[in-house]
Symmetry: C2
Subunit: 143 residues, 2 copies
């Protein structure tokens, strides 16, 4: 079981982080990313297609093709990837699954969860890939 993101989203985040620590415009095949992250090539391919559609990464077909960051690491945030793959519903839905949870008709943990949810959103939307570069580098070399 995953923590809050779908497994596909986790992989998307990992893949984009991987691209962000490499030189700009350097291109990687799904196979290369797959090898580095130790996940199936086909699954990487699938996930990167989704991210290509949403404009976060670019793809080049044919020989010497592959995937690359479409924007600079300083203008991409983790929340962008989450939004592209899982969407933002988790930041709106009731954590207990009650229908119609709102400030007017709150669930028992509405207020407390709201604070946590906002903090999580901030965490994902404040820092850019550029700012995470060093930490990312360190983690990926130790995979």
């Amino acid at each position: 079981m995953t923590v809050i993101f779908s497994k596909t989203c986790e992989l998307g985040l990992q893949a984009v982080l991987f691209l962000s620590i490499k030189k700009e415009k350097r291109i990687f095949t799904a196979g290369e990313v797959s090898k580095e992250l130790k996940v199936p090539k086909e699954y990487v391919s699938k996930v990167m297609q989704i991210l290509t559609e949403s404009g976060i990464i670019g793809s080049k077909k044919g020989k010497n093709g592959g995937f690359y960051l479409a924007k600079s690491p300083s203008s991409i945030k983790l929340i962008d990837i989450v939004e592209a793959i899982d969407g933002l519903e988790i930041f709106n839905n009731c954590v207990l699954g009650f229908p119609g949870c709102s400030n007017e008709n709150p669930c028992p943990v509405h207020e407390k969860w709201g604070k946590l949810r906002d903090d999580a959103y901030k965490m994902l939307s404040n820092e850019t890939l550029e700012q995470l570069k060093e930490k990312t580098l360190h983690k990926l070399v130790n995979l």
Copy 2:
């Protein structure tokens, strides 16, 4: 898509909250809970079985049977239900899905997520059903 808990866990939380606002030892059939929470009777039945196994609620078979809280609302916490159904892995696993995420080999958001995760855990383990009673009551009458 759910927020962090499985749908089964959400229903478990709702069902236990429902029982907690009723007089102690009062017994409810799966059908009654189902009607109140507006979810299929069979699914309620299934979820309450799991909670019965883990000792949070009790069950009585036969005519006039049903389910009831096995302990007092002041000694049950939301985390107990989460643990019984989804387990506590979400409080240990890496939010980005990286293997071997730890203080020694942290992912890019390890520290920040750790804080959020601990806050969430606290939220679920600090308050008892008794303390949530009023809020629960208010929410359930408005379903």
